[in-house]
């Protein structure tokens, strides 16, 4: 094989890889991304049941209700609308009323929201970034909500 042929075959191979990777990436991005919504946006967006989203906001005061065993129900609010979230499992250490949370899950056909994971902030100076920014956009940001 001459140098030129070798180079062409390597470039061809690399292009093949790149094409495969690009195709895979686009396919996966189409399938596997989940959008972030605050409650009022989520309700306005008329999401189809079964579409995975991340729902973020503040845990509404007085809304945490423990059910049977590990089941727990709480409302996520952006002070305009609120959505009740059903979750079964261990809540994060820093899960508290009036604190920012991001939940991953989907709306059920009956309109309820079931989360399979709940994330709260990591430490006392940190609030989930998306929640903080969305609250600021809505003009609902209060420093003490973030600081405590």
């Amino acid at each position: 094989m001459t140098r030129k042929q070798k180079r062409l075959s390597i470039i061809g191979g690399a292009m093949g890889f790149l094409a495969a990777a690009t195709a895979l990436t686009f396919y996966a991005l189409g399938q596997q991304t989940s959008y972030f919504y605050m409650p009022s946006d989520a309700l306005a967006a008329q999401l189809a049941p079964g579409e995975r989203i991340r729902l973020g906001g503040l845990v509404e005061k007085g809304s945490i209700v423990r059910g049977q065993g590990t089941e727990v129900r709480f409302a996520v609010t952006d002070h305009e609308k609120s959505i009740t979230v059903n979750y079964s499992g261990i809540l994060p250490d820093l899960f508290r009323e009036e604190q920012g949370v991001v939940t991953h899950g989907m709306f059920q056909p009956d309109g309820s929201f079931v989360a399979d994971s709940v994330l709260a902030k990591h430490d006392e100076t940190y609030m989930p970034k998306e929640v903080a920014e969305s609250l600021k956009e809505k003009g609902l940001w209060q420093e003490e909500t973030a600081q405590q």
Partner: protein, 662 residues
């Protein structure tokens, strides 16, 4: 006083780094040995000065000098000494100081052990190192100064984030930085090669061991970070495809590619241009990682504080270095003479294939990591790209790569015999196939995917063993001769086998844990028993306990296996009073290679408590495999061939420095 001394030393180090970056470079252009000679003393003095600064900060932490803002924000007088020490880099400013300290150490090592390098190459390498040091020192001095004083001095500090109060902090960041920053050496050599327009034998012989050392540390750092997250966060996961994790994984992927292409360059002097490009890309990924983690564009436990000026500053450094080096590459790469020819079916060809897979995989991880950031800054849409994305893109790229790994070391240089190699791997393939059938038919609940994954893992392990066996002549010569040949094999052969087998071991752990783990989330009351994977855990209730700077409720579980007592598993809910922050300390019991993992949740009214219990089969293999990879790197580093220049005693000592992980 020592704090001001540290600050002053840091300023001096910055000035010196500027000298180091300009004078040797100019000297190399003018051919002046005297000017070029400025590099070494400058690098060594820089190392001393930055060490002084670092020691000053350590002293401030040990003495709990709360007049220093950084100490006040991140320490507390009641904090155990070990966390006062490790807390030095448990914050933004301190960790950047650790970053430049490690950079200075690497620069110092080049100055000390680079005497037999061609003088112009040495001068150029040290100059590039000087540029990097100057940029980051300026960053620290102007936006992240750890020596800022508070007036009046507070009486008590605000304590370190409890999640970081763990022995993991002592190991994970230094190892990770040794890896990240270690790649700066490969980068500096690559840029120096482009400046000179040539690469010679000394170049490749140097780049290979330094890349290997950095790769080894990075492997250890990532594995340690993964284990730390696993036991500390209480979620039982070992990898989350979190952007911060990806930031450390990207240089590992390109670094692994670099490691392999450097072999081709050293042995066959082919792939020169590609190796230089990979060296640049790998350190660019390190810089990108530093940017993602330190700029505050991502929120995570790693982003200690967010300050937009820092982000802009690091972004500038990033663009300057990546853009500058790539522009230099575009301009000068054609000056590098192409090297030896090879047939596609050959060791070189296999290593090229490895590089294609690894760089493509790195590209998909990069897209998955940056796409949400870019999309948000352009359209404002907030999306998240999580584990499913990476499983779908990274997975399909890794599986074929892993499948061809055993072929690589068995192929001959220049022109290989694929059919012959396949024939020699027949036993390994048969063994792996046997494992697939064994798992599929005899282990309850094993899916086809689990069986194939396990088979692939054993294929890697058997392939590595086959390589060793064939190279020592098993089957062709008598056992005595084979044993002697085995003992006489070059250490790099052992290193390769160990690292490839380590990959298989890690894969085995990942497959077993993800496909075969069982978990229960339930509420228990004292006296109740939970059954999992043949073990019984009886909950004995909560007991209060007071630690040095926290209080905790310890949940005790009595573990039995078919009536045989195996002791207690203790999991606790801690509360750190200074930061008013609760944490969960998982209870982990290692049984063989598997682990039982107990995480406590909230207490409920009737005396019960929510618990999450996992049985994680073979989970420890994930990290043991990484240790095997590190050990492979260490063994390879000890290879005679990689010792720089003449194998004199002094040089040998220098190369032997990175000890095996175990």
């Amino acid at each position: 006083m020592s704090v001001e001394l540290g600050h002053f030393a840091l300023v001096l180090a910055f000035a010196l780094a500027l000298v180091q970056s300009v004078v040797p470079l100019y000297g190399a252009r003018k051919g002046s040995l005297r000017l070029m000679g400025v590099g070494e003393p400058a690098a060594l003095c820089g190392l001393v000065l930055i060490s002084i600064a670092f020691a000053a900060l350590i002293a401030a932490y040990v003495q709990s000098d709360f007049s220093v803002a950084n100490v006040w924000e991140n320490s507390h007088s009641a904090k155990p000494l070990i966390y006062k020490l490790t807390g030095v880099w448990g914050n933004h400013e301190g960790s950047m100081l650790l970053w430049v300290l490690i950079l200075a150490i690497f620069g110092g090592l080049v100055a000390l052990f680079g005497r037999n390098l061609p003088p112009t190459l040495r001068a150029n390498v040290l100059a590039v190192q000087g540029f990097i040091a100057a940029a980051f020192l300026l960053f620290i001095l102007s936006t992240s100064n750890p020596f800022v004083r508070l007036v009046p001095a507070p009486i008590e500090g605000r304590d370190l984030n409890p999640i970081l109060q763990d022995i993991g902090l002592a190991v994970h960041p230094p190892l990770l930085y040794l890896g990240y920053v270690g790649f700066s050496i490969s980068f500096s050599f690559a840029v120096a090669a482009l400046i000179e327009g040539r690469t010679d034998a000394a170049w490749a012989r140097w780049v290979r061991p330094w890349t290997l050392a950095a790769w080894m540390f990075l492997t250890g750092g990532i594995a340690m970070g993964s284990y730390w997250a696993y036991y500390e966060l209480g979620w039982g996961g070992f990898w989350f495809w979190d952007p911060v994790e990806n930031a450390s994984f990207l240089p590992w992927l390109t670094g692994t590619a670099l490691l392999h292409s450097a072999i081709v360059m050293e042995r066959r002097s082919a792939l020169k241009i590609w190796t230089v490009l990979l060296a640049i890309l790998t350190f660019s990924m390190s810089l990108l990682g530093t940017f993602l983690v330190r700029s505050g564009v991502l929120t995570s436990v790693h982003a200690f504080a967010t300050d937009p000026t820092r982000g802009v500053f690091i972004l500038t450094i990033l663009i300057l270095f990546i853009g500058g080096s790539l522009a230099l590459f575009a301009w000068r790469a054609s000056a590098l003479a192409p090297g030896g020819l090879f047939h596609p079916i050959s060791r070189e060809g296999a290593l090229v294939l490895n590089n294609l897979f690894l760089t493509t995989a790195a590209a998909t991880v990069l897209v998955g990591t940056l796409y949400p950031l870019v999309l948000e800054s352009i359209t404002g849409e907030k999306i998240s790209v999580g584990a499913p994305f990476f499983n779908l893109t990274f997975g399909p790229l890794m599986v074929p790569l892993l499948a061809v790994v055993p072929f690589g070391p068995l192929l001959a240089w220049k022109r290989g015999d694929l059919a012959g190699v396949a024939q020699r791997l027949f036993a390994a393939f048969g063994g792996a196939l046997f494992i697939v059938l064994l798992v599929y038919f005899f282990i309850d609940g094993a899916s086809a995917l689990a069986a194939l994954g396990t088979g692939l893992a054993f294929w890697l392990i058997f392939g590595a063993l086959t390589d060793l066996a064939l190279k020592s002549g098993v089957g062709n010569v008598g056992p005595g001769v084979a044993l002697r040949r085995f003992a006489g094999l070059p250490r790099s052969v052992f290193g390769t086998a160990l690292a490839h087998a380590g990959l298989g071991i890690t894969l085995l752990g990942i497959v077993a844990t993800t496909t075969m783990q069982s978990e229960h989330i339930l509420t228990v009351k004292p006296g109740e028993t939970v059954e999992i994977a043949g073990y019984s855990l009886r909950y004995e209730g909560l007991q209060p306990f007071t630690g040095p700077n926290y209080t905790e409720n310890r949940g005790r579980f009595v573990l039995t296996e078919r009536g045989r007592a195996l002791g207690d598993v203790v999991s606790s809910k801690r509360f750190y009073s200074v930061r008013q922050m609760p944490t969960t300390e998982a209870g982990i019991r290692t049984i063989g290679l598997s682990q039982l993992y107990v995480s406590l949740g909230d207490e409920i009214e009737d005396g019960g408590i929510v618990v999450h219990i996992w049985w994680k089969p073979l989970v420890t293999l994930i990290w043991l495999g990484a240790l095997a990879m590190m050990a492979g790197g260490a063994v390879s580093l000890l290879d005679r061939r990689l010792r720089i220049g003449a194998p004199s005693r002094r040089k040998r000592a220098a190369q032997a420095q990175p000890e095996p992980a175990e």
